[in-house]
Structure formats: C-alpha cells, structure tokens
Symmetry: C2
Subunit: 204 residues, 2 copies
DNA sequence: CAGATTATGGAGCGAATGATTCAGAATAGA
DNA sequence: TCTATTCTGAATCATTCGCTCCATAATCTG
C-alpha cells in the first residue's frame, strides 16, 4: 500500500533522520541548531534535507509533532488503570522512563524545546503543544474526579487539586530530566511522591 | 561612594538595559536573540552595548545571574526558618510569588523559559543554569538533613529524598507559572503539597 | 583653557546562516 | 531503450551573525 514512487529513491532513512534531527533540536534548541549541523549529523546534503523536510522550521515542527504524541499516549494508558493510585503511579513512572530515554537516538524530553516562539513556520508549534498538554491535563483531571465520585479519595482531597499537583510533579520531573537527573533519581522521587498521596482507608 | 568616573557618561540606564535584554533572552533564547534585536530594543548602538556588557555571552550570563540571585535569596531566607515544615512552606510560597510577578517588566521565570531550550555552540546555557541552581539545591538539602538529625522528620523520610521532591515541585511550579497558571492556583497547589509532607508526631 | 578618559553612532569586517540552483545519477513505467 | 520523475552532491546565493574600528562627542582633572 506504499508503492514505490517514480524517480530516484531516497538514499537515507527518513524516520531515522527525523530522530537525529529531533535529538539535535532537543540539545541545542531551534535557533541553536544550524542546517549545517543537521546535514553533518544526518550525513546528507543540504538539498536532500530540504527536499525531504522542507524548511528548517518545517523539520522542527514535524519532529515536535511526532514526539509530543508519546506523552499523550502515556496519559491515555495511565487513566485506564483501575484505581486513582495506579493511575498516578503509572503516569509518573512511565513519563520518567520516557523523559530519560537515551537509546536509539531518542531525543529525550521535548517539552521545553517546544516553548520556542520564533519558529515562523506555518505550523504553530507552541499552540499545538500547549493544546496537547491541555488535553492530557483534562484527561487526568477527569479520571481523578471519577475516582473521587467512586469514593477512592479521602473527602479532604479535591480531585482537581490532586490533578494539579500531579501535573506540577510531572512538569518538575520533566525539567529535572532535562537538567541532567538520572532515571533512578527521578524514579525515586516519583515513587516517594506517590507514597505521600493519601488514599481512602484501605491502605495506611 | 560612587564617584562619577572620568570620561563621557553613559547615555542609557545600564540596569534598565539589562532588564530589557533579559526579557528578550527569556522570550527567544540565547541564539534566538541577535545583537541587532538587542541594540534595537535597547535603543543603543552595537559599540555601546559591547562597551557596557562585553560579548553577547557575557550579557546573557549577567542577565541570568541577576535573576538567579532572586531565587538564591529566597532559598537563603527559607532555610533560616526554625522547622523543616516552615522551610519548605516558605520556599515554595515565596517562589510562587516570585514566579508570578508581572510588575515592572518582570520577564517571568528563568528556569522554564526559552532560555533553557536554546543554547549555542559557544555557551552551554543549561550547564550554566544547572550550576547556579546546584548551590540552592545543596542549601535546601543541607537544611533538611539538619532537620532530620534533629528528629524533625519521620525515620521513613530521607532528607535527601524530601529535598529532591521539594526541588521537583519547585521546578514544576515554575513551569506552570510560565504556562500561565495564576498565583492563586499555584499557591493552592503548593499549600496542598505541603500538607502531604509527613512530620514527626508533634502534628498529625 | 588643555589633556586625559570614556561613550557614541555608523560603517563594515570575516564568518556563518538558511536556502537555492543545477548538472548528473538512479529509479519507474512504457 | 526512451522518457518522466525524483533524489544527490557541490557550489553558491543573499542575508544575517557577532563583533570591531574609528572619528567624534561629552565629561573629568588640573
């Protein structure tokens, strides 16, 4: 269903190139990454890069889009857990694992790279990422409110407040990953935070 | 005690120029902010800028330092509190207030702006900021370890771990401030988080 | 006043930037 | 094989970059 198009075939793996590019963007930022750094790292010429991805801003936008979806997927899997505690635990731990991935040229956490405003691409990266995160937050809040109605949370704990707290932790873990914290450190922090969240009677 | 030096006096306010420069750097990052943007926004010529601040990296570093000092001051005041709980509370609440300042052209929070996302080959921004924050983190950790030795914390709570958690919350609050959260929301989150931190017997 | 000192604006340097052009190479369908 | 199509590498375009030079202006001390 993906018929080889006419013409000379591309001599490099587009997906792999995209991953390398994302890695560079994550390390140096948008303006901090030059097209020459990209072509050198990808091992292709400038014209090949432009033919495959368009302008630098287009390439950046595509990199952001392809990786931002991973976070949404984590939220989606997390809220499917049966209890509020399991939801929070899975969300934080899987996110930490994702933030600190270094294998296969994975770019790490792109959230703060996305904050850049001056891309001037036709695609508004900032707005896109902000919207995606709003959706994720809403999903978590909805799930915790549902848990509250099910009596999973002590009456002193408002679901919205707990969602805000988890979200704050999530952002903090992301930032610390970017500052160089190791996976073990962040997992320890996340685990510790989870133990502090009060649950209804069944435990502690 | 600040005798007017010989020579032609500077025609612009150095501190105000530094604030403007910081504002631009926060918005566009280091490599995203050109010297021409700076001179245009500051209303001065290139030679004046270089005479007053040195290179672009020097100007950037000075801008970072001047704002990092605010956070250091908060940490310093916080660790002077008599109890661990008071330390954490003061740290988080005062930081939130600082993060959400909007007066006098305050450029917003340093740590989660575009500053962190945009580096250059000649200046490793992340490493520089991380280094400045390490001092604050060490101060907090030392204070909590002291509290642990004084028996203020339950034996199940390691001081280092608690410090890491508070630090993670701090980063998260900063990011959420940058994303547009209001002061009231963040204060509510911080207050809620503080209530979850266990204390030794004297208070439930 | 004269001499020393410092700041200013404008011009412009060499290097790097994002992006394009173009002749040629590699494929598909006919 | 021939034509249409697509990709490649090298050269290179115009622009912008960080930064400096320099003649001049404004202030100091004496």
């Amino acid at each position: 269903m993906a018929p080889r198009p006419a013409g000379r075939p591309r001599a490099f793996d587009r997906d792999e190139a995209l991953r390398h590019a994302a890695h560079l963007f994550w390390q140096h930022g948008f303006s901090g990454t030059s097209t020459r750094m990209l072509t050198a790292a990808l091992g292709i010429s400038s014209s090949s890069l432009y033919a495959a991805f368009g302008t630098k801003a287009d390439l950046f936008a595509e990199a952001i889009r392809s990786y931002a979806l991973r976070y949404s997927a984590i939220y989606e899997r997390a809220v499917a857990e049966p209890t509020a505690a399991a939801v929070v635990e899975r969300l934080l731990l899987e996110s930490v694992t994702e933030f600190t991935r270094t294998d296969e040229g994975h770019p790490g956490c792109l959230t703060s790279s996305a904050v850049m405003a001056d891309t001037s691409s036709t695609f508004d990266v900032r707005k896109y990422v902000a919207g995606l995160q709003r959706t994720d937050e809403a999903r978590l809040r909805g799930r915790l409110e549902q848990a509250a109605r099910a009596g999973e949370l002590p009456p002193t704990v408002q679901a919205t407040m707990l969602a805000d707290l988890v979200q704050t932790l999530w952002q903090g873990l992301s930032t610390r990953a970017e500052l160089g914290a190791t996976r073990e450190e962040l997992i320890a922090v996340a685990t510790f935070a989870i133990t502090l969240i009060p649950q209804e009677s069944t435990n502690s």
